[in-house]
Symmetry: D2
Subunit: 294 residues, 4 copies
Amino acid sequence: MNTSGNESKEPRSVTLLLHCPLRLGLAASLTQFIYAHGRLLYHDQYVDPENDDHYYTRLRWDVSSFAMTDEEMAERLRLLIGTGPETEWSLHYSDEVLRMAVFVSKDPWCLYDILARRESGEWKVELPLIVSNHPDLEPVARRFGVTFRAFSVTKENKSDVEREQLQLLQSSRVDFVVLARYMQILTGGFVRAYPNRIINIHHAFLPAFPGARPYHSARERGVKMIGATSHYVTETLDAGPIIEQDVQRVSHRHATKDLIRFGRDLEKVVLSRAIWSHLRRKIIVHKGRTVVFD
Amino acid sequence: MNTSGNESKEPRSVTLLLHCPLRLGLAASLTQFIYAHGRLLYHDQYVDPENDDHYYTRLRWDVSSFAMTDEEMAERLRLLIGTGPETEWSLHYSDEVLRMAVFVSKDPWCLYDILARRESGEWKVELPLIVSNHPDLEPVARRFGVTFRAFSVTKENKSDVEREQLQLLQSSRVDFVVLARYMQILTGGFVRAYPNRIINIHHAFLPAFPGARPYHSARERGVKMIGATSHYVTETLDAGPIIEQDVQRVSHRHATKDLIRFGRDLEKVVLSRAIWSHLRRKIIVHKGRTVVFD
Amino acid sequence: MNTSGNESKEPRSVTLLLHCPLRLGLAASLTQFIYAHGRLLYHDQYVDPENDDHYYTRLRWDVSSFAMTDEEMAERLRLLIGTGPETEWSLHYSDEVLRMAVFVSKDPWCLYDILARRESGEWKVELPLIVSNHPDLEPVARRFGVTFRAFSVTKENKSDVEREQLQLLQSSRVDFVVLARYMQILTGGFVRAYPNRIINIHHAFLPAFPGARPYHSARERGVKMIGATSHYVTETLDAGPIIEQDVQRVSHRHATKDLIRFGRDLEKVVLSRAIWSHLRRKIIVHKGRTVVFD
Amino acid sequence: MNTSGNESKEPRSVTLLLHCPLRLGLAASLTQFIYAHGRLLYHDQYVDPENDDHYYTRLRWDVSSFAMTDEEMAERLRLLIGTGPETEWSLHYSDEVLRMAVFVSKDPWCLYDILARRESGEWKVELPLIVSNHPDLEPVARRFGVTFRAFSVTKENKSDVEREQLQLLQSSRVDFVVLARYMQILTGGFVRAYPNRIINIHHAFLPAFPGARPYHSARERGVKMIGATSHYVTETLDAGPIIEQDVQRVSHRHATKDLIRFGRDLEKVVLSRAIWSHLRRKIIVHKGRTVVFD
């Protein structure tokens, strides 16, 4: 029902995400190609002076009246961009709706938040599947009519469960995974199957307090602010590229349960901003860091 | 399922909210009375040096093994506190669950957030009724099994509608009302029926940008931060006692639709913090301002 | 002594600030011209979709080995940019050090902060003159070896004083003026002499609490955050284009004197960020708003 | 010249800082004793439910017309408070002005900020001594008329230098030490001489990025916010009780030099808030954490 941030009524567009070593004339070539055939809707770029002037850009343009097929356009871009070293790019069409799986355990707040945003039209995303290692949140999934699959995970069956989960993701044609307070550590095999396509929310201001029970650690250490961090999952725990972070001021008056209460809101907002940036194709990952365009 | 912030397993307790002119020995008398019969669970107080040393306090104590009835306890407190000028106090028992009505129009985000918090047990509150001036959000109410009543409001029938709404609130034994993006201005008659018991969320950092379309005004003015404000409703529009505010940094890059998008998260978090403080009996209103205990 | 943010060791560069209606190929022409003769150091641009796709850009490039004079370069840019409606641009050379006058009354914190930043080399700026309507801060100026001129301002002599101040600014070849807690309202005549070149710090989150004694008003209204706003001065009080804002959370526990204490730090940081952006030629003013590049 | 936050015109007062296991009637006894002889100016208390209901309180009262000597009053308090386990308390008279030494290396911003606050009367503190391991900031000290002592520190002479510095602190009757970007690690011997009386500013959001070059590490890790932390120095590096923290949002667009620039303002504000709380006797340290009263 809400349509802000919703492109459904807009003409068909395509988003180019590109990074490569800075090259004279590339931006001009790209924009001239676009202007020659259509209308530029978004153009942002960034040069990293601390990384050999590496170049990052995001362009979005109207393709509703482009006088060529998607394949021809991609081919033309391939020629323009070339195939130099450290060059990566991708095209994303506005009529391709991403398919997301959400992994949860027992905590409901991030899941409710995700379901509400999708249901209200705030996000354009398909949600074919909720996966959990506990049955507790099945009623929530059912309330929103989403398939829920619970797996009982033990030390012994973990690799079998992950294999089954991966098959499920494939058969559900899932594009990316959101760990919405999923209290299991994924193995390297699982993570490698979805590179830069698994988004986690960690309930601390990373790199402070990685691992388990960060609010207890924060209280124990006596910090004056707590935080939350959303990041892409890599094979090293809580060390993946950070997408978004936020904090809230606390004081000695706040017990651990207060930190947990504040943290719920931090977690859901920080995770949702990350998902939004992922859905809107705002993120380039390079050398363990993210460029997140506005 | 979540139990942080949930008192359900705790012994029965009572909360005293009191404000009066500062008086020697009052705090000592109160705490001694409590300690003589039970266990003090919370004690905070505040003296306002800019308001003739007016005294504000919140005490919560275990009454599960108090050797007197609630009536006797209230009578003893009445004697201790006395009946001086500008003295107000109230007692709130932990087994009384407040009943809340939510008023909405077409915007779903605050409503979803409220429903999710109640459903997940984050809040202990009854929600017998959702009222709207549009039918749009009825499916949301139905999904959570809450009664939804739509009223078509016109200039002509406004007072009739409000009368009907007030009757509905009474018959549903509603204790307080939350305006969760309700796009109607309530008349003085309605407001007077629920003094300091109607909580509104305004989508701006009051007193900046009162009234309609604050995000458009914020963009027009070129502010570098946007905000949201929850407050008790009084007869003067957007001028009631402020309960909670928060802001988010923006820049020239953010169009009005971005401000609206950021604002949704600000609104729901700020409103929910206010409702939480109200539910937990953390708020004293005095002279148009709030004292909100931690 | 500190050299971060100091360009003194960098080769000579020029900054172009430009805004105009969006025009196909302009960005490409500009960057190609620059690349043909030198090295691009900074390039940012912004298109305002809510303002007829108006285009704003900031480019900075190395001119140390440009094979043409500054005049020739400016002429070439003039031809590239053209003279359409609503088109404004300016060039700023890194070896031109701006000259700043600071106006104060009795409050020292912003003045000390400015003097320290200049003295430590954090800013590259000349400070030939401090003007005041009170003699109180003369010792501070003297301590840092800066000329201090006090004017006794009354209702009657105000226009005479302003005329004298303007002459002083001219004879000191002042480029821009900073009102660092100057408790006088400048007349339209004075303001028009330095369009978008007078920076004020207002001790509130504008448009909330314009005018006098905003901390008292904030306390009276019971807001839960206080703020500060730096803006260019226009003929309407506290309504000029906002450059920077920031806030700090407060509670009922904070008396007016606490708000004033917190506010001092907000004021000096917010004002200094605005001065930095002005000095580094990061700001374009258009239609009462600012574009502030990173 | 500024008098907010300045108690110089107020009657003589005393501040009691006390922590001990919660005890029935202690608060009442203390306030009754005070009210019996004078006027209570400040009263805050906190019970830590996660630490066996340990009790922390700060009381400040007018002693200008107390009908007993300071010694008699202290003796009466000693009897009231008793000598149970884990009980610590101290009395601080408003006419005792603390003496602070500031240790610096080459970075001037925190030093300037401290000097300006003292000079303008924002803080009531004596500053007999600035110590450095480099001569660079001597002109700054001289400008403000403060004694400056430089020590050339090497691996070999470190313990000799520290012994000399400690003698200097003693002969200057220094009460507490501020490490205002002092780039040396103090030995345990030095730290033990000033327990909870050495305040450091670390340029990161601890416990993230302890040790050297935190802004470089923050950029390398790709965090979306940077921070600063002031804490009491203990024998373990960057692990002492945290007094104050703050953060600022950054993005991929900000190079390390931008983080350093933002960090300067964070550092000086966070350090100054900690010094203010220390000067105003707002801090109780217990079990590696601080209670910082408002």
